[in-house]
Amino acid sequence: MKDKRVAGTSARRADGIAKVTGAARYAVDLSVPGMAHAIVVRSTRAHARIKSIDREAAAASPGVIRVLTGDDLVGAGLTPYYGHVVLDHPVLAIERVRFHGEPVALVVADTRREAAEAAELVEVTYEELPVVIDAEDALKKGAPDLHERRGDRVGDEGMDEGEGGLPTNVCAVARVGWGDLDDAFARAHLVVEGEYRYPMLYGYAMEPYNALAFFDQGDLVVYSSAQHVYMVRRDLARMFHLPLARVRVSAPYVGGGYGTKSYTKVEGMTAAAAFFTGRPVKLDLSVEEAILTTRSASAHIRARSAFTKDGKLLARDFDIVMNAGAYTDNTPLVNSKTANRCFGPYRIPALRVVARSAFTNTVPSSSLRGFGAPQGNIAGELQMDEAAVALGIDPVELRMRNLVGPGEELMPGKRPLDADLRDDLRCLASALEWPGAIVGRSIGLGVSASDAGAYPTSTAAVRIHSDSSVTLFTGSTELGQGSRTVLAQIVAEELGVALEGVGVVNGDTGVVTYERTTGASRTTTITGRAVQEACRDARRRVRGLAADTLAVAAAEIEDAPGGIGVAGRELGYGEVIERWFGAGGEVLGHGAVRRAEGFAKMPPFYEIGCSGLELSVDRETGQIHITKLTTVGDVGFAINPALVHGQDAGAAMMGLGAALHEELVYDGEQLANPNVVDYRVPRFSDLPDQVTHLLAERGDGSGPYGAKGAGEGAGNTIGGSVASALGRLFGVFPHQLPATPERVWRLIRDAETKRDP
C-alpha cells in the first residue's frame, strides 16, 4: 500500500468534544417554538377488530389539541400505511389490531403530561379474534390469517414467492441451493442432525425512537432518530403525496442504532399529528414502547450436515422458520440473509436452504446487527463442532479443511470471497491458545462471512473553500460507528489537506447527498468510495480552474498535496479558487457509486466474522464466566484502527448479551419482559477478564485503500462460540440460546445422565 498520511491512523473522533461535554444534540433534545406533544394509545389486545374508539373524554381533557386515529388518515386521503418492501404497516391501526401494543390512537396536547393524562381516557372497544404467537403455529392449517389481503409491493428486495404466491401467514420465503442433496446424504460417512433456537431480541439503542415534525410552507420537515433518512423520506412522501424534494428528514446524532433504527418507526404518526394540528409535534417513546415498536426475529432451525470420513462437507440442509411479527417491515431481507448466512463460508457440494418467516400477533420484527447471521450461525457452526467430536478431528482443523479460499465463490455467480479465512482462523486460534489447557475452562470459536453492504447506491459531495478547507456532504448517518471521522480521514487523504480542515455535514435529506442506507456495515466501503470519487471530481475541477487562470494546457497541471503543481511550482486550492473567481468562490466535487465496476458483483463485499472466547462455568449455579474474548477484524485495511476495534468490541459484547442473557419472552399474548429491568443487557460485570482485538489487513476489500466493512461480524459467531465451548466442556451441545444459568444447569445434569445413565 502507498504511504498514507491520515488513513490508517487512529485519529480522534470528530464528535469527541461534543459527546463528552453533553453538547451533542440528538433528535430527542430538539424543540421548536409552539411545539405540541404526542402520546400513543396502544392496543390492549393481540388480535382484534376495533369496534369503536371513543375519544370524547380525551378530546375534552385540558390541553388536548387533537386525538387522532387511523380513520382520520384514511378520511383525509393520506396513504395510511408504510413499509419499504410491502405497504402493510398502518401508521395507526385501521379497523383491526394485530399485536398487543400496536398504536391505535395518538393524543396531541400542549404538554407531554397533558397528552399522557388524556391518553388514559381514550376508550377502545374490541371484538377479539383468534391469536397466534408462535411462528410454527402460524404456518399450521387453520391458523388465523393475519393478512388476508396483502399490502402493495413497493420494493422487491428479498421477495421470492415461488409458484402461486405466498401461503397463509408466510411473510417471506427464501431458497438457496445447488447439487444433488439426496445423493450426497446417501454417500455420507457421518450425518449430524439437530434443531437449534435463537432468541427474539431487543436491540436497546439507549435513545428510544422519537421524532419532531412540522410543515414549513407546505414542505414536511422531520427530525428523528432514524438511521436511513432517505428510506424514511420515501415513506413520508408516499404518505402525504408529496414530491421527494418537499420532504426533509434529518437525523442529528443518533443514540444507538444497531439496525433497530433502520426504516420508518414513529415518523409517520408524528408527521400525521403535525398535519392535522398545524403545530410542530414531538413524539418521544419510552423504552417499553420502543420494545413494542421493533424487535429481531427469533429462529427455529432444523439442520443436517453430511461429512466424509476425513471431515469434508458433502452437503448441508437447513429448514428455517422465523417469527416475523405482525407486519412485513424488513423481514424479507432478514429472511433471505438468514438463508444466505446459515451454511457458513465452506465448500459445500450440495446445499438446500429453505427459510420462511411467519406473520404472528407479536411485535413486528425488523433489522438488528448482523441480521440473519447470528440466527443461522449457531446451527451451521455448532454442527461443525458436533461433527468434529464424532469424527475425532480437531474443530479448527475440520473448519480448515472446508473453508472457502480467497477468490473462491461461496455462492455461484456471486462475488468471490475477498478474505483469507484460513489465516484469520489460525490467528484467532493462536490468540485464544487453542485448544486450551486450563482445567475447567473451555474455548469456543467460529467464523462467518456475511453478504454485506446492501445495494451499493451512494453519493457524496465535497466543497473546497477559498481557504483550502473542505466540507463533506454525506447522507450516511453518524450512529456512533464513527462515520464522520472515517469519511473525513478519506477526504484529508485524497485531497492532501489537514484533517482539522475537514468539516462533515450529514444526515439531513434537505442538505446532503443521497445515501441509500446506513447499515449492513457499508459506510466505510461504499460511502467511502463515493467520497473518494467526489474528491477526485473536485481535484479535476481545480485543475480546470488552474489551467484556465494560468493559461496552460490542462495536461501540464498535476495534483499536489492540498492543491496543484505546474511547471515546478505549487498552488493551494484556495489560491487557484480565488484567482479564478477574482474574489471568494469555491469548488464543488460530486461522487457517485452504483452497482457497476468494483461493485458490479453482489454482494459489494463479504463481512467476516472470526471471533471466539474462553469460559468457565459454576457447576452449582450454571453461571457462565467469560475469561477471554478475542476478535479478528478482517477489514482489508483499517482506515481508523481504534474505530474498528470499537466496532468489534461492541458487536462481540452484543453477541454475548444474546448468548448469555437476552431474550424477549411472550407470556400468553403479551411480552413478559418489555423493560430493561427484566430484559437484561450486558453490564460492566459481564466484561470478560481479558479482551483482545486483532486486525487482519490484506488490502482485499472493495472500499477505499482495500478496506471493507466491520461492525457486525465479530458478534455473529459469539452465540455459536458460547454453545460450542459449553459442548466441549460437558460433552452435550446446547441447541438453544441464551445459555441462561438455568439452561446451563440443566445441560450439566443432561450430560451427567448421558455419562452415567
Binding site: 435513545e207 423504552v287 452484543m654 460492566f684 460485570s685
Partner: protein, 158 residues
C-alpha cells in the same frame, strides 16, 4: 398541582426556579437547557440520567426536583473548566470510550463520583462502581481504561 420555588447551586451557579411538585430532576435540568443529561430506561437501571446531587450520583429520572432544594447539582455540562476538558472527558476521547455518546454524560458523571470518593481505584473497583451505567456500544473495556487513565492523570496533577 402545587408549585413552589426552590434554590439550588447548579453547576456552580446559584439558581432560583419555580417547579411543580411532581417535577423530576431530569425534567428540571433539561428544562433549563442542560440537555446533556439523557433519559433512557426511566427505571433507575441504565445510569444515562446520572447527575451529582450533593456530591452523590443519582438517577435524575427517579429523583424529584424538589430534593435538589438547597443543594448543589452537577451535570455533564458542569465538568469542563471553560474550554479545558475535565481529565475524564479527555480520557474518554483519547481511549475511544464512547460511540453513540448517549450514555456518555451519565457515564462520565458516575466516574467523577468514583474518582472524588476513591482517587486510586483498580480496574475491579471501576467495574464494580460503574455497574449501574449501561453502554450498548463499546463493550465497556475502553471505558474502564479511560477511567483508570483519568485517575492517574488527576493524581499526578495533584
Amino acid at each position: 398541582m402545587g408549585k413552589r420555588e426552590i434554590r439550588l447551586r447548579l453547576n456552580g451557579g446559584d439558581r432560583r426556579v419555580e417547579i411543580e411538585d411532581q417535577m423530576l430532576l431530569i425534567e428540571l435540568v433539561r428544562s433549563l437547557g442542560l440537555v446533556g443529561t439523557k433519559l433512557s430506561c426511566d427505571a433507575q437501571v441504565c445510569g444515562a440520567c446520572t447527575v451529582l446531587l450533593d456530591g452523590r450520583p443519582v438517577s435524575s429520572c427517579t429523583t424529584l426536583a424538589i430534593e435538589a432544594d438547597g443543594k448543589p447539582v452537577v451535570t455533564i455540562e458542569g465538568l469542563a473548566d471553560g474550554a479545558k476538558l475535565h481529565p475524564l472527558q479527555q480520557a474518554f476521547i483519547d481511549r475511544f470510550a464512547f460511540q453513540c455518546g448517549y450514555c456518555t454524560p451519565g457515564m462520565i458523571v458516575s466516574a467523577k463520583a468514583l474518582l472524588d470518593a476513591r482517587p486510586a481505584p483498580d480496574a475491579a473497583e471501576v467495574r464494580h462502581w460503574m455497574e449501574g451505567n449501561i453502554c450498548r456500544c463499546t463493550g465497556y473495556q475502553t471505558i474502564v481504561d479511560a477511567v483508570l487513565d483519568a485517575a492517574e492523570h488527576l493524581r499526578s496533577a495533584r
